[in-house]
Structure formats: structure tokens, C-alpha cells
């Protein structure tokens, strides 16, 4: 068995690297989303603390039903 590594090694490596690159891009997108989620969570926390600090009826709706609410679409750039 001759060692053919030098001949086509580049393409084989490229194939696995492409796979890795796709995976890392996916991870990066998920990380961005997680960051955005974290930021929005922070906003919500601020709102709750603000409300808790005693501004009466600031933004509280009467219809706070326990059922699931109709959702808006996520941000436009989402997949």
C-alpha cells in the first residue's frame, strides 16, 4: 500500500474542514441568539424591578391570562 497522502490529502482535509466550518458557523449563530436572548432577559428583569419599585399600573395589562398568548414573529433576520 503506497502512501498517497501528499497527492490528495489537501482535498480530504478540505472536506473535513468544510464540515467543521459549517458546524462552527452554526454554533456562532446559536451563540449570537443566546446573547440576544440574554439581553432581552435583562430588559425584562429591569422592567420587573422597575414595576416592583412601585410605579402603579405601569404597563400592566388587565388581560394577563394564564393561557398561551398569540406570538409575534421573531426578528426578521431569523431563519
Amino acid at each position: 500500500m503506497t502512501d498517497k497522502l501528499p497527492e490528495n490529502g489537501g482535498y480530504v482535509a478540505a472536506a473535513y474542514l468544510v464540515f467543521l466550518a459549517l458546524l462552527l458557523i452554526y454554533v456562532a449563530i446559536m451563540a449570537t441568539r443566546a446573547g440576544r436572548l440574554e439581553r432581552e432577559l435583562g430588559d425584562v428583569l429591569d422592567i420587573v424591578q422597575r414595576d416592583g419599585a412601585g410605579e402603579p399600573g405601569a404597563g400592566r395589562q388587565a388581560t394577563g391570562g394564564s393561557g398561551p398568548a398569540e406570538q409575534r414573529a421573531p426578528r426578521g433576520s431569523e431563519q
Binding site: 500500500m1 502512501d3 498517497k4 497522502l5 497527492e7 490528495n8 490529502g9 482535498y11 480530504v12 478540505a14 472536506a15 473535513y16 468544510v18 464540515f19 459549517l22 458546524l23 452554526y26 446559536m30 441568539r33 443566546a34 436572548l37 432581552e40 432577559l41 430588559d43 425584562v44 422592567i47 420587573v48 414595576d51 405601569a58 404597563g59 400592566r60 395589562q61 394577563g64 398561551p68 398568548a69 398569540e70 406570538q71 409575534r72 414573529a73 421573531p74 426578528r75 426578521g76 433576520s77 431569523e78 431563519q79
Partner: protein, 249 residues
Amino acid sequence: MPTTRKLYGTRLMLLSWAAVAVLGAGFALAAFYAPIEADQGFSQKIFYVHVPLAIVTLCGFVFGGVSAIQYLRSGDPRHDLRSYTAIHQSLIFCVGALITGSLWAKASWGQWWVWDEPTLVSFLIVFLLYATYQPLRFSIEDPERQSRYAAVFAVVAGAFVPINFIAVRLADPLIHPRVLNQAGGDLPGEMRIAFYTSLVGMALLFVTLYRFEMASKHARAQLKSIKRRLGEHATSTGGRSAAPRITPS
């Protein structure tokens, strides 16, 4: 009704580790354990990443079609979400399959694209078809209709895949070394182990990423629900999305 915590916490972590372990083992086996193939030489090693990508892509599209059928029969939007996520993800895996296939073609035959390999050509056509899924969803505003039409598309596209493979294979007069056929029968023992390990690892990877995607969507939906209850309108109403709308549990 389980909350996001329970659904996606421990199980997802274990799944991730399993995917990493198995896929890593598969590639390691491919690199060091499996022998170099006599006809094609070292470039045959691409086979261990290209074929699992291709197989998982097809399974993903099939799952997308099956979920679509479930959605059409039950109307439960969770099936629609599963269908959407599966197809979206399979499309990305399909791109991976096409790129690695092209690299394999270049390594084997010196050209970046070959029309003689019917499986590769079929994948190109399938990619072009499923790439219309998102534009289709995006162009239908009414959410219920969007889900319904997308589900019909997923079913039709799913049925199209096997016919397409048959048709393209009929059109190819020559017989080239069929990489996918090799996967079935005549692989020697070491290659078979490496291949199947990679395949299982790739499948685990798909499921892991799929669940990550679902977890992310659920978290966002729950956050929006909280925001709404607090009386704040969601800050991000800019633009419609192709993604199905979900309600958190």
C-alpha cells in the same frame, strides 16, 4: 406540561456529548483504522464525511415530510415547527453534502463538478427544491395558511426525492464507482466500522443541533410571552419571518 428546563437541560447535554464522542470516534477510525482504498486512494477518505452528511440529509427531509403529514392531520402547530426545523437543518446538511461531494469529485476526477455521479446530481436538484421552502413560507402572510401550505410542500417534496433519484440514475448511461452503493455491500470490516460510526455520529449531531434549535425557539417564545404579560410590546417587530410562530407551554 414539561417546561423548557426539563425538556432541554440534561438530556440535551448528554446528547451533545454523545454526538461529539461518536462522531469524533468515527472520524478517528476513518483516519487511522480504516485502510486506504485500492482504487481511489487517499481521497476515498472523504467518503466518511460526505456519505453520512448525505444520508442524514435525506432522513431529515423524510422526517420533515412525516411531521408535515402529522401537522396536516392534527393541526397541532408543534408538528409544523418540527417540520420546519428539520427541513431547515437538512438543507444546511445538504449544502455540506454538496460541497464535500464536489471536493471528492475534484480529488477523484480532477473536476469540481461531475454530471456522471447521479447521486450528486440528485442532491443538487433536491437542494434546489428544498431551498424554495423558506421563500415560500416567507411569502405567505397568514400564519395558519403558511403552515398548511408549507406542510403540503414538505409532503410533495418528500415524495419527489425518490422519483428524482430514479430519474437521474436512469439518465446516466455509465456506471461510475457508486460511493453510496459501496456503503451497502462490499466494504471490508474496518471501513465498515469507521463508516457506521461516522454515520451514527452524524445522526446524533443532527438531532443535537435540532434540539438546540427547538430550545432556542422555545426560550424566545417564553420570553415574548413574559414581555407581553408585563405589558411591554416586543421590541422586535421588524419584518416577517419564515419561521412558524409557536406558543410556549
